[in-house]
C-alpha cells in the first residue's frame, strides 16, 4: 500500500474539488438543473483493492466511461458507477428517455459526454499539479464486472492506481461512483514530489 500524509491528501482533495465545482457548473447549465459533484475520498491503491471497492467478489456489473491519457501520465482514466446508477444518472439528466432496461446508443453517448466533462476536469487538475501536459483521448462507454474492468488476473493487479470517490448529487439523490487514474509508478512519485513542492510553497 502506498500511503500519503494527511496534508497531501487534503491538498489533492481540495484541488480536485475545485475542478469538480467547475465540471458541475458545466453540467448544471447543460441540463438546466442543479448538479453537485464532489470528491470526498482520495487514495492510492493496488488495482486489485480498487476492484474490491465495488464489490467483494467483483461480480456486480458496473458501467461508465473511460479515456486514455498520455503525456506526463500514461494509462486510462475511468469513471465507474454500479450499472443501475448509470441508468439513473442518464435518465435524470436527459429527462425524456426510452424506458428500456439498458442504455440506448444515444443514452450511452450522453453518458460519455458526462464522463468526459468529469474526467477532463480531473485530468487537467492533475496536469496542473504536475505542471506537465496530459493529453486525453475521446471518452468510450464501457461495462463489465470489477475484475474485467480493472484487468484483474492479467499480472497487473498489484499496480498502483489513484482512486477517487466521486459523489454525484442530482434531484436530491446522491449517487456514488469512482474515478480511477491508472498511473505508472514513476509518475506517481513525481506526482507526490510536485505535491510537496506546492504544499511547501504555501
Amino acid at each position: 500500500m502506498f500511503e500519503i500524509t494527511d496534508i497531501q491528501r487534503d491538498y489533492i482533495t481540495e484541488i480536485l474539488n475545485i475542478s469538480m465545482g467547475s465540471a458541475a457548473a458545466v453540467l448544471s447549465e447543460m441540463v438546466g438543473e442543479e448538479v453537485g459533484l464532489s470528491v470526498p475520498e482520495v487514495a492510492f491503491l493496488p488495482r486489485r483493492v480498487a476492484a474490491d471497492k465495488f464489490d467483494l467478489n467483483n461480480s456486480a456489473k458496473m458501467s461508465g466511461v473511460t479515456q486514455s491519457v498520455s503525456g506526463a501520465i500514461n494509462g486510462d482514466a475511468l469513471l465507474m458507477f454500479p450499472e443501475e446508477k448509470t441508468l439513473t444518472i442518464v435518465r435524470i439528466l436527459l429527462g425524456d428517455t426510452v424506458p428500456v432496461e439498458s442504455l440506448t446508443e444515444m443514452e450511452q453517448e450522453a453518458m460519455c459526454e458526462i464522463g468526459n466533462i468529469i474526467l477532463n476536469a480531473i485530468v487537467s487538475s492533475v496536469a496542473n499539479l504536475l505542471q506537465k501536459e496530459i493529453v486525453s483521448s475521446l471518452p468510450r462507454f464501457i461495462s463489465g464486472t470489477g475484475s474485467e474492468i480493472y484487468a484483474i488476473n492479467t499480472g497487473c493487479e498489484d499496480d498502483l492506481v489513484m482512486f477517487l470517490k466521486v459523489g454525484f448529487g442530482l434531484e436530491s439523490q446522491s449517487i456514488n461512483g469512482h474515478v480511477t487514474l491508472m498511473l505508472n509508478v514513476p509518475s506517481l512519485h513525481e506526482f507526490i514530489a510536485h505535491l510537496d513542492e506546492q504544499i511547501n510553497a504555501l
Binding site: V100, E105, M106, A110, E113, N116, A127, E133, V135, L138
Partner: protein, 400 residues
C-alpha cells in the same frame, strides 16, 4: 508523419482552394462526416465538402475567418469553449446530441427542397503538427439514430401502457369473480336449506308432482353451490391465497374416508369402488383436507364416466421416491383431441348444453394446482373405448 504535414499544409495554406486539389483534401471531401480544422489563432483552416453542403457556406467564405465570425450564434456556448480547451489544454471532448440543444446550424438537403436541421453528435480533438496546435471538429449526422430511438420510445411506452391495462383488467376480473361468488353463496345456502326442509317433508307432506319439482330445484341448487365453491377455490389458488397445512398424512386412512364419502355417489351411478392394491401404513407429505379434495374429485369423476354396473379400481403403489394413487375406470376413455386440455379450467369433453354428466369442469384444474402446491403431480393414461386411469404422485414421508 512527414507526408501528413505536407497534406495538412497543402490544404491549409491555400485559402479559397484548400481541400480540393490534394489527394488528402479529396479524401476529406468524400467523408460522410462534417470536418473542419481550427488553428491556434481560432481561424478555420480546413472545411470539407460535407460542411459546405450542410452549412451552405462555401469553403472560400469560411477559410481564414475565425470560428466566432463564422458561427457568431455559438459564442459562449459549450462547443465554443471545448474548442478553446482543445487548443489550450489539449483535451478531447464529445458533445452528444441529447445533452446539447444548440449545436451547429446545419441542414440536410432533403430532395423535396425542404431543409431539415441535422441532429448532430460532435467530437473535438486536439492535433499537433509541425509544432503548431490545431483543433479538429468532426460532426456526425445522427438523425436516423434519433428517429430510431423515437420509435423505440413510443413502442416501449405503448408496451408499458398495454401491460398496465392488462394487469388492471385481470385484477378487476379476479376481484369481480370473487365478490360475485361470495355474494351468490350466501343466499344460495339459505335456498338450499329451505328447499331441503320442504322436500324432506318436515313442513308437511307434499303432493307427488310438487315434491318432484322441489327435488329438481334442490339438486340444481346443490350443483350451483359446488360450482361457486370451485370458482372460489380457483380464485384462491390463482391469487396465492389458498392455505396449505403440509405434514405427514396417513394415506390409507384418507383414501378410505374418501371412498366412504363417495359411496352414495357410486350407488347413484351404479358403480362399485374396489380397493385393489394397498400400502398399509404409508405416510405422505400433504395437506389432509386438500388431498381429500383431490381424491374426491378423482373418485367422483371415475363414477361419472363409468358405464352402469362397472367397477372403479383403486391402487396404491410405490413409484420411485413417490407414492402413486391410481383411480381406474372402464369408461369410454378421453378423446384424443381433448387430452391436452383436460387440466384447463372449464374443460369438459362434452361441451354441449345437453351433456349427460354434471360438474363444473374446474375439478381437475383445481386438483392439478393442489398437487403441484404439495410438491406432487397428477396425470392420466387413457384408451378410447377401454377406460382411463388418473393418478396422483405424492412425496413419501416418515410418519409423524
Amino acid at each position: 508523419m512527414h507526408s501528413d504535414s505536407n497534406a495538412l499544409s497543402s490544404v491549409t495554406t491555400k485559402p479559397g482552394a484548400s481541400g480540393t486539389d490534394s489527394l488528402f483534401g479529396k479524401v476529406l471531401d468524400l467523408s460522410e462526416h462534417g470536418l473542419f480544422l481550427v488553428d491556434s489563432a481560432r481561424k478555420i483552416v480546413l472545411w470539407n465538402e460535407w460542411m459546405a453542403q450542410a452549412s451552405s457556406l462555401a469553403r472560400g467564405d469560411v477559410i481564414g475567418r475565425t470560428f466566432n465570425e463564422v458561427f457568431p450564434e455559438l459564442a459562449g456556448k459549450r462547443v465554443a469553449s471545448v474548442i478553446e480547451t482543445a487548443l489550450d489544454m489539449r483535451t478531447a471532448s464529445l458533445l452528444s446530441r441529447s445533452l446539447n440543444k444548440s449545436l451547429f446550424p446545419l441542414f440536410s438537403a432533403n430532395g423535396g427542397g425542404e431543409r431539415k436541421r441535422i441532429e448532430q453528435s460532435v467530437i473535438v480533438k486536439p492535433i499537433q503538427c509541425d509544432g503548431r496546435d490545431y483543433c479538429l471538429v468532426q460532426i456526425t449526422d445522427v438523425t436516423p439514430m434519433v428517429q430510431r430511438e423515437e420509435v423505440l420510445r413510443v413502442l416501449a411506452r405503448e408496451a408499458e401502457a398495454a401491460q398496465k391495462a392488462a394487469e388492471e383488467i385481470s385484477r378487476f376480473k379476479s376481484e369481480f369473480t370473487s365478490t360475485v361468488s361470495h355474494e351468490l353463496r350466501t343466499p344460495l345456502t339459505s335456498i338450499r336449506g329451505s328447499l331441503g326442509l320442504v322436500s324432506s317433508g318436515v313442513m308437511g307432506e307434499l303432493p307427488l308432482e310438487v315434491n318432484k319439482l322441489v327435488s329438481i330445484a334442490c339438486n340444481n341448487t346443490e350443483r350451483l353451490l359446488f360450482l361457486i365453491n370451485d370458482i372460489l377455490d380457483i380464485d384462491k389458488i390463482e391469487s396465492g391465497k389458498m392455505d396449505f397445512v403440509i405434514g405427514p398424512v396417513d394415506l390409507m386412512a384418507v383414501l378410505r374416508q374418501a371412498l366412504e364419502a363417495n359411496q352414495p355417489y357410486g350407488e347413484q351411478y351404479k358403480i362399485r369402488y374396489v380397493l385393489n392394491q394397498v400400502m398399509a401404513g404409508v405416510a405422505v407429505r400433504a395437506d389432509t383436507d386438500r388431498l381429500m379434495q383431490v381424491l374426491n374429485n378423482l373418485l367422483s369423476n371415475a363414477a361419472k364416466f363409468s358405464p352402469e354396473g362397472a367397477e372403479v379400481e383403486i391402487n396404491v403403489l410405490q413409484n420411485g421416491a413417490m407414492i402413486r394413487v391410481e383411480v381406474k375406470d372402464f369408461g369410454a376413455g378421453i378423446p384424443l383431441q381433448f387430452q391436452s386440455r383436460i387440466f384447463e379450467k372449464f374443460s369438459q369433453a362434452d361441451g354441449s348444453d345437453t351433456r349427460k354428466t354434471g360438474g363444473t369442469g374446474l375439478g381437475l384444474s383445481i386438483s392439478k394446482a393442489i398437487m403441484e402446491k404439495m410438491g406432487g403431480g397428477i396425470g392420466f393414461e387413457t384408451e378410447e373405448g377401454k377406460g382411463t386411469t388418473f393418478y396422483i404422485d405424492i412425496c413419501e414421508m416418515a410418519p409423524a
